[in-house]
């Protein structure tokens, strides 16, 4: 047990040390910046850092309490993300009952299935059962207008906001040979690499960004940000190998896959925002936008990381 406690303390200490450094830099920038344009960027940066403190504390408290607390945290995240996503998606009157099922039956059940470690069902529950339930409920409602589009929007919402997100806390249920993974190191590893990649893409983009990487989708993402962010995420992930069941090489490859999936996740979710004509999914996290804006990369990275780990290490 001592080993686990030490790892948890190291993770908390490491993240808080980084946040303290970030807060100090943010404060210095605030004092130094004079132009109006620059002020706005620095203000947003400081709001982001403050939000990071809150998010990190909530995350660590959940991990420290245990598996059930982490599941509840991610269930709440799924629920709020789905709320943002559906708010932004033009659903119709005929979708009402299907949406009620999505929020109040399917989402809790998915997390319950992970809670009781029923891998066989939780891994297909939404892609099979919920996927079929949504069009059935919609067809009972009897509205055929844009049936396919309406149904797919709800199916997408459930997959992205609930199913993919739920793979993150599902890591806590994996039984890995010669590794005690109940205290959330794997979950921390995933979240840390995804978020480091996001943050460092932002930092490298802001400092050295010249060439947009996907100008049609996300004008703020640059080649410099992509290269800088991904390579630092791989570096951080590799240095974290000792909290995982991986060797340093394996940790590096896993980090690269996580960061790449995260990058694409961010891009895909941006395309949806762009199509709807908005910049953010919501306003619930100051500086960041909505919950969905913060977890878009996690959505795409979590299921792949889970399955790779489960396939090769259990």
């Amino acid at each position: 047990m001592h080993g686990l406690d030490f790892r948890l303390r190291a993770m908390v200490g490491g993240v808080f040390a980084l946040l303290i450094v970030a807060s100090i830099i943010g404060h210095i920038l605030k004092l130094r910046t004079k132009s109006d344009n620059g002020r706005e960027v620095v203000q947003n940066l400081n709001a982001r850092i403050r939000a990071w403190w809150v998010m990190a504390i909530i995350f660590f408290v959940a991990i420290a309490i245990g598996r059930i607390a982490s599941l509840l945290l991610f269930a709440a995240v799924s629920f709020l993300a789905l709320r943002e996503y559906i708010t932004l998606t033009p659903t119709q009157r005929g979708d009402h009952r299907a949406l009620f099922w999505a929020f109040f039956v399917i989402t809790p059940l998915q997390y319950l299935l992970i809670g009781i470690r029923w891998y066989g069902l939780f891994s297909i529950f939404i892609p099979v059962y919920a996927y079929l339930l949504v069009p059935i409920r919609n067809v009972i409602a009897g509205d055929c207008r844009e049936f396919l589009a309406r149904t797919s929007k709800i199916q997408w919402g459930l997959m992205v906001c609930v199913y993919f997100v739920s793979y993150a806390p599902a890591l806590l249920s994996l039984k890995i040979h010669g590794y005690q993974g109940e205290s959330g190191e794997l979950l921390f590893f995933l979240v840390a690499v995804v978020q480091f990649s996001d943050v460092l893409q932002y930092v490298f983009g802001k400092c050295f960004g010249r060439h947009p990487i996907a100008p049609e989708v996300s004008p703020n993402k640059t080649v410099e940000g992509f290269v800088g962010g991904l390579s630092s995420a791989v570096l951080v992930g590799t240095l974290l190998w000792w909290i995982t069941p991986f060797t340093p090489w394996q940790a590096a490859i896993m980090s690269l896959i996580i960061a790449l999936m995260g990058f694409w996740g961010g891009l895909v979710m941006s395309a949806i925002k762009r199509d709807r004509g908005v910049k953010d999914y919501g306003t619930s996290i100051p500086g960041h936008g909505g919950i969905m804006d913060r977890i878009d990369s996690l959505c795409f990275a979590a299921p792949i990381f889970f399955h790779l780990t489960r396939y090769y290490f259990t």
């Binding site: 009157r93 009402h96 619930s284």
Partner: protein, 200 residues
Amino acid sequence: MIAELLAKSIRLFSGVQARWIGCKPDSTQRVYFANHTSNLDFLMLWSILPREARRTVRPVAASDYWQKGRIRFFLANSVFRGVLIERQKVTRSNNPLTALVAILKAGESLIIFPEGGRTTDPEMKPFKSGLYYLGRAMPTVDLVPVYIDNASRILPKGEFLPIPLICSVIVGRPIRVQPAESKDAFLIRARTAIENCSRA
């Protein structure tokens, strides 16, 4: 007490976002008039008002709907102190305007839905004339346009189970009936004021 609790839970459930673009959130005497698509409209609008204002603001509701059934009756009368008015057989003796003017004279505020009922269309219905007569009778009270967005998706007409979406309530710039203004011209202006909030 129940009302405060309901206001809190509706804010948590639907994360109501209030945007005051035309006036300040305070407890000045006002007549708030809004578009009407859901039974939650009143609750949404009510929940974004400052606590002080919530004590003195009363919703105007249809007695034929809100006097049916015990729960509705209890909510309308005891919880929200609604002013129930007749909308079908209006006579000189039960003219709803008399009651509304009396409430305004007593210094309280009102929330009214001038479409006269919930609509399922994206467009607002033409306004009933009550708002105009109210403005004529009380020319110094501000009439405040409010646009409530998404409430119809949270709880559409005819459904009883709400889904949690984010709702926004946009409060616009107050208007008053101009001395020489005709009823029709004013009602169109009032309707446009809400439409402007919806685009803001």
